[in-house]
């Protein structure tokens, strides 16, 4: 399967390992990432306002491009995934937003939310399959205790994101098992890291960081994995000295593609 790939701004700069290893692992697992030409930043946060369309247009352009190629749109960064999938839902269900966005963009063919948006993790689960992935593992991560950190953006709002049970997710734990490691389930795994507050209120984010990392450490993890560069930034330098990795870094180790 070939996917239209939307890497997003941070995967081209501060989170290059999230991107590079995802590409290596995709090649090893037999699916193809075709980067969307001239993609534009998603804006980082879903624009909730009903009366704005300008902040939704970069997502619509990427979605329309994937539709023109008749491919699903694949994301890797949790924020890009959240923004593009929620905007796609608006284009499908909100006639006012759909009409105004199309009136502005004047695309060859109007866009109405036709593109399927999938996260890399969903491809691993639903296309590759965790059983097949397990067979592709060359270096099982035996004895590693890995805590999956979902944060907020992958799961919520659950009715739109529809990746997993928003309160009791298992997709990353199943990936961890397939890689031969032991998943560590802990209470704070789907609570926000403090997000964009880390520019303006570093103390509030430090409280969030300590609560989350301590929760994972108390349940015995030796590392935390994430799909989000901002979660990475907010959690990485923690008082518990727990390493935080992108999930693709651990997957590349397990598949032996480094």
């Amino acid at each position: 399967m070939v996917y239209s790939y939307f890497p997003g701004c941070t995967l081209k700069s501060k989170a290059t390992e999230l991107d590079r290893k995802a590409r290596l692992c995709a090649a090893a697992l037999g699916f193809e990432l075709e980067e969307i030409e001239n993609w534009q930043c998603c804006g980082g946060v879903y624009p909730m306002a009903k009366d704005e369309i300008a902040t939704k247009l970069s997502s619509v352009r990427a979605l329309a491009d994937a539709k023109a190629h008749d491919r699903p749109l694949l994301t890797l960064c949790s924020a890009c995934h959240n923004v593009i999938k929620q905007v796609n839902n608006d284009m499908l269900k909100d006639a006012d937003i759909r009409t105004r966005a199309n009136n502005y963009l004047q695309l060859d063919e109007p866009y109405g939310g036709e593109t399927k948006v999938v996260h890399y993790l969903e491809v691993l689960r639903d296309e590759v399959g965790f059983d097949a992935l397990k067979k592709a593992v060359k270096n099982p991560l035996k004895g590693r205790k890995v805590a999956a950190y979902y944060g907020c953006l992958l799961l919520r709002p659950g009715a739109v994101m529809a990746m997993d049970d928003p309160e009791n997710p298992s997709i990353m734990e199943d990936l961890i098992k397939a890689m031969g490691a032991d998943p560590v389930v802990y209470p704070q795994r789907n609570e926000c890291c403090g997000g964009y507050l880390s520019l303006d209120d570093k103390e509030a984010v430090a409280k969030r960081r300590n609560k989350i990392v301590k929760s994972a450490a108390d349940f015995g993890c030796d590392c935390i994995i994430t799909a989000c560069p901002l979660c990475m930034y907010n959690l990485a330098k923690n008082d518990c000295d727990v390493p935080v990795l992108y999930f693709t870094e651990l997957l590349a180790q397990a598949l032996g593609v480094e």
């Binding site: 501060k14 609570e191 403090g194 507050l197």
Partner: protein, 125 residues
């Protein structure tokens, strides 16, 4: 259109669905940092008591993490009300919460672009 009508229009939220259970505030991960909490945003907008919200730092403490949206038993979507009040505030002339010239002193070598994008989307117009 008065301020309340503007906020209801921006948010698309029906504040009258709220049954005051307080679950949104109970589940808010940033509750301790807020002067006005999610359930207060909902009922203060409903009652038209909006001026205190427009002036409060609480506008900039919501993480948009959607915990309140997910867990509201009445599907009120409090985060969308907070977003609409914040937009109503920062869309005023000269009311940006973050100015570009102040950003260099707030970042470090690891700051992801995603953070800057998000901050400008949330805090300035």
């Amino acid at each position: 259109m008065d301020r309340k009508e503007e906020i209801l229009l921006i948010s698309g939220v029906n504040v009258r669905k709220c049954m005051r259970c307080g679950k949104c505030s109970g589940t808010c991960p940033n509750y301790d940092e807020m002067e006005y909490h999610p359930h207060q945003f909902v009922y203060m907008v409903e009652s038209g008591n909006i001026e205190p919200l427009l002036k409060s730092e609480s506008l900039y403490k919501c993480l948009s993490c959607f915990a309140c949206v997910e867990r509201c038993p009445r599907d009120v979507e409090p985060a969308k009300i907070i977003e609409a009040v914040r937009l109503s505030a920062i869309r005023q002339k000269g009311a940006n919460h973050i100015k570009a010239e102040n950003v260099p002193e707030l970042i470090d070598e690891d700051t992801p672009q995603q953070l800057l994008m998000s901050v400008f989307r949330k805090y300035s117009k």
